[in-house]
Symmetry: C2
């Protein structure tokens, strides 16, 4: 079958992608050399150039596939059928887990740095990740508003406030390498605190 060759080829491709992702996320785009990737993945540089064309092609493939794998599960959550507090808590925990995962920290770092070099990639990263999360959360808030549970005039802005509150300085410190990702315990506390403030803040009068 052709499947055998295809399978082997895909295995190689995945190994290359994974090794390259590690090095890129660790060192940044400019500081990463093809040799360093091959050193980690084994094989020869020809593999990379046959499969991805050049360094940019390899990098684009990484960002696209990693973002897909990591960000998709962020959105398809069970959000209906619970009250707002439970929904927000679940939302906060999931996004906290995602944002703090080493891979997403890596992608975040590189997206920030290479914003000028790869504007399209960065745009799609944002839209599939933080952007989509905020839009989804805004829908939840909108529904709550229609049920009269909260008062709000701009649900998308509110959603932004909420995710900002959960990201917090914690995310910044982790991104800067100043502290390790929070334990489950810490994450739960931080989310609980954010949910509490947000719920109270939103239930009352909007000036």
């Amino acid at each position: 079958m052709a499947a055998a060759r295809t399978t082997r080829r895909n295995g190689r491709r995945d190994a290359l992608l994974q090794a390259a992702a590690e090095v890129f996320f660790e060192q940044g785009y400019a500081a990463t050399s093809i040799d360093a990737i091959i050193e980690r993945a084994g094989g020869s540089k020809r593999n990379i150039y046959n499969e991805f064309g050049n360094k940019e092609g390899l990098f684009s493939a990484i960002v696209r596939e990693s973002a897909d794998n990591l960000l998709s599960p962020l959105v398809i959550e069970e959000i209906e059928g619970h009250d707002l507090r439970a929904t927000l808590t679940a939302f906060g925990r999931h996004s906290m887990d995602a944002y703090m995962s080493p891979t997403l920290i890596g992608i975040y770092r590189i997206a920030v740095t290479e914003a000028n070099r790869f504007p399209d990639l960065v745009k799609s990263f944002y839209e599939q990740g933080p952007g989509r999360t905020a839009v989804r959360l805004a829908e939840v808030l909108e529904a709550a508003r229609e049920r009269g549970e909260i008062q709000a005039d701009d649900c998308l802005r509110l959603a932004g406030h909420f995710v900002g509150m959960t990201r917090d300085n914690l995310h910044l410190q982790v991104v800067l390498g100043l502290r390790p990702p929070p334990s489950d315990e810490e994450a739960r506390e931080a989310v609980a605190s954010a949910v509490e403030i947000f719920l109270n803040g939103v239930r009352r009068s909007r000036k």
Copy 2:
């Protein structure tokens, strides 16, 4: 006097620093060449090596001095003598202005990328900037708690929530180059909204 030489030298030094900052913030550390800096600043590479030793020295000087200039005014604000809403609003506006300024966006970008290469620099950036801001705000909240205006158990965490709320997805979008910094109008709205939620959220029961 020696002042003449010193003055001239300092002028040269500042010109180099400014040009280098522009290029570094635009392109990142690894992708910035000494030639590119000289092209923008004029003169010769000897200037840089005489003044800063090497590329790392130049970069360190930039981060140190830019951070100092930009972050110091963030802390010494008139915060007493007003009620909490006014204080928070002032705080939010000032930190929003600072975080969204092109220079600080540049520093932020490069701090995120070069966290591995320059851990000490990144640490001092955080402590002098976001860290100190949060600590200062926590003191304000602590005072408000003692006056009985708010209920809280961990003021530093609350401070983090507040700055996170003002930073928000807005900051992320600007850092990623997906939108320009907000106008004064937008900034004011965002801060007002965050203050409102935060105040209401914090005034009521902490479960």
